[in-house]
Structures are given as C-alpha cells and as structure tokens.
C-alpha cells in the first residue's frame, strides 16, 4: 500500500481534510462492529460526502490497487465491515439523502447512508412503511441492510431486504457505475439485484437504492403469550404456521432474556417466571379480519399450553412490549461485560429440540446463553454473555458457538439468517457448502471485482474453494 500519509493527502484532496481520519486514536473507533470478538484497525478512514466524491475515492484506490471496505453505521454482527491494516475504510454515513418518496408507486430512492428508521419516518406521512426492521433500525443504514440482506421481526410477513429492493446503482471496485434492476422491480436481464443484495460489500457499493414501500397496516393486534416450557411455546409457533395464519411478527424470548429485560430500563411487563414468551403481532388493512385472526391465534396458543394470552390494550402498551423485544440485546448488557449475538436458522419444527440442545451446550461450557429470536422464521439468536478480558472464557464462547452452529446444521438449518458471514462465520462455511459451491461463489465475486479489492477476506473461505478456471482477473472483459 502507498504510504498512508501520501494516500491520505490525495484522499483529502477529494473529500476534504476533516473527512480523512489518519490518527490512530480516531481509527481505533472503527476497529469493531456490533460483535466484540473481532477487531481490526484500518490504515485510513475516509468519509465521502457525495456520490461524486465516493466515485473519485474508489477510482483512486482502484488505480493504486488499495483494498477498501465500505461501512455504514457499524452495527453489523459478523465482523463484516472491519478493515485490515493495508485497507481503507469508507464510511458512507454522510451519503444520507432520501432522494425521493414516490407515493403513487410506493417507492423510495435513497443514498446508502440513510438510517433505516429515518426512511420509515419519511414514508409514514404518505401512509407507507419500509418493512424490514432490524433491531438496530434506529442506527443501521439502508446501504448496510442491502449489503447484509437484513431482516427483522416483521420480515415474517413482509419479507427481508431482498424482497424490498427494486433497483440499485452500484459502484464497482474499478470505479465504474452500473445500473441493476428496474424501478418497477422486474429484473433487467438476470436478477443481478438479487445477486447483489446480501453480498456483504464484496460486489461493490450500492450508491443509490430504489426500495419498495408497503401500505401501513390499518389494524394491529399485539399478543403476549406466556408459557411454562419452551417446548410448549414452540408448539404454539407450529400451530399458528400450520393454520395458515401469517403474523406480521412471531418472536420468542426465553427466561434468561425475559429477566434481563425486566431488570432493565426497558422493562415491558413480561412475566418473570415464564419459561418463554411469544410476542405475536397480527396486522392488516381490515380490522374485522385482523380481530378474527387474533382470536384464532389466541385459541391456538391456549391449546398449545399458554398460561395466559394478553392483547395489548393500547398503542402505549404495544410500544412497550416491542421496546422490550427490540432492546433485549441492550438489556443483556447487564448480564456481563460482553455479548455475542449469534444467528442461525433451523426448520421451525426443530426449534424445541434445538433450544434444548443449546441449553445443554451452555451448561457444559459454564456460560449464560439467552435466547431472543424470530420464532416464526426459525431464526435463532442465542446470545452468549461473557467477559472478553477472560481469555479462557473467550475460548469457551468460541467453542460453544461452534457447537451451536453444528447443532443447527445437523437439524437441517444454516449458519446465518440475517447477520451475514463476514469474518465471524468464515470457518463454518465449509460445513454447509462443498468446495465446488464455495468456488462458484468466489468466481461470481471475481466477475464483479476481479482484483478482489472490495472488503477482502470476507464471506468465502478461499482456502476451502475448488478453483474455477472460468473465473479470475479479467472476467468482466467481454
């Protein structure tokens, strides 16, 4: 890499001196994302303020063959937006314009640094919503959501980020801009928008995002169901799904998590003695239908063994129930110095067995594991509380995480449902994909980025790939 100070000078000429961070004290603040187990200090941090600046920065880096890592708010949970020494971190938070809300066509056009919740707030006066709602939505950006294919509680009914992106303007690693998709959502040729979403920054940077908005529901019912066993709560989930009812959200929390929330400022009135609770939200455009479905769900939950099923009586109560769920990760900060938020998916019917196995793993390793997750999707989030300064404990966390992943894979599941692979799950990729399939992924990456300059070393463990002769440098040359 060019000596940082020279490169910093050239970058400052593009974005302005105050938007290039060279001092170690400044760079260290970007050494982690939301996952405390990985740490990388970038050589330089650059914060472009316009698309033109971003393009110029990337063209300069491409010309010098300097690797770079795009980053939004840094709320990711896989170590995906960390830049090694030798790489430049491109922070996109200043590219935060909502370019357009098109009410008639239910579309929004935004820059990548727009915060998820701000897009929701901008859509609301038009009677619309941006449905994907990761727990970090008050901080995370749409660009980051696109890179990670982010989900959230309400994705059960409305779909994940990939279901909401119609078109993208993408800046490739060589500094060229490409237009993927179309405003109406019909792919323009092969579905390259679908391929790009969830590529964790490995295919380029989304510089302009056309997202689908959906009408705000006119009626909402939020139910809190209280169970004396996780197995019974799991049966409740299966009963709802089998009945053909698709709640807007169907979330589960175990006792450890319930108590952490109730002991925190986010106390939501969850029953402290419950083994598990389900938070079920039904919404729609028709009050009568939502009430009927809510009644049906209440009956199903009671039949599954719920001790009580309570419907939020007011918007304030509903808000409180959701705050407890969305701030659960924060509340777990009370349990220990550090927290690993894990992410895996299993078939819904396997939830009770897998949760019991995870409980056993936690006991064997002497760790506190709390579960709060998207039960309707089978998307688990076992959260391991620990102290990162205790190296022995950190090793136990790593070992327990690996066992949890193996358990989920053995149940027919996968290693991540919405947090991504990043650095954290590279080692698990060969457990679910063979060398040929990993090689295919790497080959696709090289079509978009032949020199592998964008976010190197993430997603695909190169050592585990079978070589693909058709791929490699120059794959884009036609």
């Amino acid at each position: 890499m060019t000596a940082p100070s020279l490169l910093a000078r050239d970058l400052a000429a593009i974005v302005g001196e105050k938007h290039v961070r060279e001092a170690r004290a400044e760079r260290v603040t970007y050494a982690m994302d939301g996952l405390p187990t990985h740490r990388r200090v970038p050589d330089l941090v650059v914060l472009p303020g316009t698309r033109e600046e971003l393009v110029a920065v990337v063209r300069l880096l491409a010309a010098l063959a300097v690797p770079f890592v795009p980053r939004g708010a840094g709320t990711g949970l896989s170590g995906g937006a960390l830049a090694d020494a030798g790489s430049v971190l491109l922070v996109l938070m200043r590219l935060n314009r909502i370019v357009k809300i098109d009410k008639a066509n239910r579309l929004a056009v935004v820059e990548p640094g727009v915060v998820n919740a701000k897009l929701g707030a901008a859509a609301r006066p038009h009677g619309l919503q941006y449905a994907p709602d990761p727990s970090s939505q008050t901080a995370c950006t749409i660009g980051g959501n696109v890179a990670e294919n982010a989900g959230g509680p309400h994705c059960l009914k409305y779909g994940v980020t990939a279901n909401h992106i119609h078109a993208l303007e993408v800046l490739l690693a060589d500094g060229s801009l490409v237009e993927l998709g179309s405003p109406g959502g019909e792919p323009w040729g092969p579905d390259l928008v679908g391929v790009f979403v969830g590529s964790e920054g490995n295919f380029g940077i989304a510089t302009r995002i056309t997202a689908r908005l959906t009408p705000l529901p006119r009626a909402i019912r939020t139910l809190l169901a209280d169970f004396t066993s996780i197995r019974a709560a799991g049966a409740g989930v299966s009963a709802i799904i089998a009945a053909g009812i698709v709640p807007a959200a169907l979330e589960m929390m175990d006792q450890s998590c319930i108590r952490a929330v109730e002991d925190s400022v986010y106390a939501a009135g969850y029953p402290r003695d419950a083994a598990a609770i389900l938070l079920v939200e039904l919404d729609g455009r028709n009050e009568t239908a939502v009430v009927a479905e809510s009644d049906a769900v209440t009956d199903l939950l009671r039949a599954a063994g719920a001790r009580a099923v309570k419907c939020a009586a007011s918007d304030a109560e509903r808000e409180r129930l959701w705050q407890g769920r969305k701030k659960a990760f924060g509340a777990m900060g009370r349990l220990s110095r550090d927290l690993v938020v894990q992410d895996a998916v299993v078939p819904r019917s396997a939830l009770p067995d897998v949760l019991e196995t995870i409980c056993g793993i936690a006991q064997r390793y002497g760790l506190v594991v709390s579960n709060v997750f998207h039960a309707g999707d089978g998307n688990l989030h076992p959260n391991i509380s620990f102290d990162a300064t205790d190296l022995g404990m950190k090793d136990r966390v790593e070992a327990a995480s690996a066992e949890i992943m193996s358990t989920c894979i053995a149940a027919g599941g996968t290693i991540t449902g919405e947090h991504g692979v990043g650095l954290d799950k590279l080692r698990y990729m060969p457990l679910i994909f063979d060398a040929e399939s990993l090689g295919a992924m790497q080959a696709v990456r090289r079509v978009f980025d032949p020199a592998e300059l964008v976010n190197p070393g993430k997603v695909v463990p190169v050592h585990a790939c079978r070589e693909w002769a058709g791929a490699g440098a120059g794959a884009r040359a036609s």
Binding site: N163, S182, E186, S199, A292, P347, F433, V447, S478
Partner: protein
C-alpha cells in the same frame, strides 16, 4: 454421418454421440428424438446431469435444455437435448415447516396435487400448461397473476442445486426460511433461462392451503376497470390476484378485471365485503369454484399457444401508458396485466424488427422486456434479454463465462 444441424460438435457424428451417452447413462436415458432429430437425453439423477454436461463440455457438444417441452419451443440447434423430465421426484414435503424439496423435472400439476394432499400450497400460477416443469418455471421466473399477492417466483425459493455448463454441481441457499450464508446464487438461476446452468433441485417455500379461495370478475372498458382496480387497492383489500385481461385472452366481449381472494375465511370474507363497496355496489360476478379454476387455467394456457410471449415490468402508474404502447405497436391481442404490480404479459405474433424496436422504446421508459418464448429464429435475434442498463452487459457476459466456460448451453441470452 455429418455433424448434427447447427451444433458445434465438429466431426462428431450422431451415432458417436448416442454411443457415448448410452455408455455414460445407460440406454434408458436416451429418448426418442424430436422432429429435428436432435438426440433427446433424460438423465435420471442430478449426478447424471453433471456427468452428461461434463462430457458435453469436454467433447464440445452443444446442449439445449428442455423440461416437459410444453413452454419454450424445442428448436434450438444443438448436438443433443437434455430434458429434465426424469428428474421428477419430490424428496421432501414438510407441512409443519411449510417447505418442500422437488426435482426440477416434476410437473407443476403433480407437485400441486402432492402438496394439497399434505395441506400445503405453492403460491404461484405461471403461464403455460399444467404439466410445465418446476425447473422451467424457476429458470424463466415466469410468475402469473398470483404475483400480486405472493410476489415473484424468487420469493418462493429457499435454494436450488444446479449443474454448470462444464458439469459442476453447485448448491445455493438451503431449506430454511431465512438464509444469508454466502452469495445468493439462487436468484441468479431464477430467471437466468438456463444461461448459468441447469437447475436440478429446488427448495420451496410453501403456504398453508388457503381455506377460502374465491374469484370475482368484472367486465368493462379497460380504463373503467383500471379505475376499479385502483379503488380496490386504495380500499385496503389484499387480493391474491388483481388481473386485467384482454377480451381475446379472456374470451369475452370486453376487458375483464379478475380478482382472486385467497387465505383465511376471515380475511376473504372481509375482502369480499370491501370488494362490493370498492366497485360501487356489487357489479362483480363471483365464479363457481370450477369456473374459477377453468378461468385461471385458460389464462395460463393462453400464453403457451401463440408463437411469441414476453413480459414487461414498469411502475404501477405507467401501466396504462404501457398497455397503450403495446396496443399501438403490436395490437392488443392477448394481454394480461397486473397493474398494481406493474407487470404485463403479451402473447401473439410479432416480427423480430418490431420486438427489437419495442424493447428499445421501453428501455427509454426504464422498462425491461423479457422474451419468454418464441421460435429460435426470433430468440437468437432478439434474445431473452437486451437493451441493458449501463454496465450490465459485461457482468452478464462474465457470469455466463463463469458458469458455462465452453459455451455448451444453447441459450439466447441476448440477441445478435
């Protein structure tokens, strides 16, 4: 014997190809050829597909991909036709998880029946005959009217396994509801028209069989029905399908607005009440169950009859303008439109020149045209895709080279 028509097998004779294929896959894999005498080979397993394509790549054979042969015309020049029709197993249906795994050659009619027997439902109704294969539907990403309520084909996929043009077997996605492990190659295959490999196995996201499923029709002038459609959407109804159908396709005197309500009895009852109010008081006619089935089936089959079928996708507010454009440039022959989703499908007779001009005009409106079926002479000239937006062409070409480095798969990705 000379090399077979249009293929690039060089001096490889038909007899040699048949001998080699028989040695590889056994006699049972070689079916009767079509009228163009191109040998038709039906591998019996995904591994056999990989073996066949690996050999084709080494030998320099050109291979066209076929399913049941009911959708895309079987007329591409090739050394052999690979049909997926023996890949017709359903390894798993999991009603409690609402997932299924099916081989690509299973007919949709058979798949639907087996799902229904287990209380499960696949929320897609693609154009074509009832026996059209699952692989064909995924490869062409051809959604039907249910796209309005349940999304495009890709939204129903959890993962696929495919074999590349040089015989590599690749898995993408998985069998669970959410999955961001690795890049999403499933979406590359959905709508890739086989340019990036042959789909052999599909993991599906299902729904519970709707407990209520009703269809209402309203006939009238196109502009009036468009307004009713907008009123229905504005009233907050959530139809599974809201489709505007041309008179010729609907076999009626005038245009038809078809509304399908499917889901829980409570939801359907609420929407039925709302439908009457939105249309100004009960002008819709409810079809009996068998009539509704026949209506939707006829609509789907209509697109497999005429020589050319394509789809376009614009924003909802452009639907009227796009319908006018089609009418002006090609005539309003057989058209079905989902105005709220912005998607329109046209079928009829058209010249290469007209289609190319139409695609260019639409591109200026930011609307892609995807050629879904046509004779090879038109496919090869017009391409399934074309008039790409900035920078897309080199990416598609790079992906094509990656997944089919020897160019074994005969797919008219772009026009000449």
């Amino acid at each position: 014997m000379p090399g077979v028509g249009g293929g690039r097998g060089g001096g490889t004779s038909l007899v040699t190809i048949l001998e080699k294929v028989t040695a590889l896959l056994g006699e049972g894999a070689v079916l009767e050829s079509g009228t163009d005498r191109v040998p038709r080979v039906a591998p019996g397993s995904p591994d056999a597909v990989a073996l066949l394509l690996g050999t084709a790549h080494q030998e320099g054979w050109r291979v066209r991909i076929e399913g049941a042969g009911t959708w895309l015309q079987s007329d591409a020049p090739a050394d052999l036709a690979l049909t997926t029709r023996r890949l017709d197993r359903i390894p798993a249906i999991e009603p409690s998880d609402l997932t299924a795994t099916a081989e690509a050659g299973i007919g949709l009619d058979q798949l639907r029946q087996q799902l229904a027997d287990r209380g499960a439902w696949l929320g897609i109704d693609p154009p074509g005959l009832a026996g059209r294969t699952l692989g064909s539907v995924v490869a062409t990403a051809s959604a039907g009217p249910l796209r309005h309520g349940f999304g495009p084909i890709k939204d129903h996929l959890l993962g696929v396994t495919f074999v590349t043009g040089d015989g590599r077997m690749v898995q993408s996605g998985g069998r669970v509801m959410k999955n961001v492990a690795g890049y999403d190659l499933t979406r590359l295959q959905a709508g890739g028209f086989g340019a990036f490999g042959v789909i052999v196995l599909v993991h599906l996201r299902l729904r519970a069989l709707p407990r209520a499923d009703v269809t209402y029709l309203l006939e009238g002038a196109r502009e009036d029905l468009t307004q009713v459609g907008e009123d229905v959407a504005a009233a907050g109804l959530t139809p599974a399908a809201l489709e505007l159908v041309s008179p010729a396709l609907a076999r009626r005197e005038r245009w038809v607005l078809a509304v399908r309500l499917a889901g829980s009895p409570a939801l359907v009852a609420a929407d039925e009440a709302g439908l009457g109010a939105a249309s100004g008081g009960g002008r819709f006619t409810q079809l009996r169950a068998e009539e509704a089935h026949a209506f939707w089936m006829r609509l789907a089959e209509g697109f497999a009859v005429r020589p050319v079928t394509f789809r376009i996708g614009g924003v909802p507010t452009a639907s009227d303008e796009l319908l006018d454009l089609l009418q002006h440039q090609l005539g309003d022959e057989w058209i079905s439109a989902s105005p709220a989703a912005g998607s329109i499908r046209w079928t009829g007779e058209a010249s290469i020149d007209r289609l190319q001009r139409l695609r260019r005009t639409l591109a200026g409106l930011e609307v892609p045209l995807t050629l879904e079926r046509a004779p090879w002479s038109m496919r090869s000239a017009v391409g399934h895709f074309g008039a790409y937006r900035e920078g897309v062409g080199p990416l598609v070409a790079g992906l094509r080279r990656t997944f089919d480095p020897g160019g074994a798969l005969v797919v008219a990705t772009e026009g000449e």
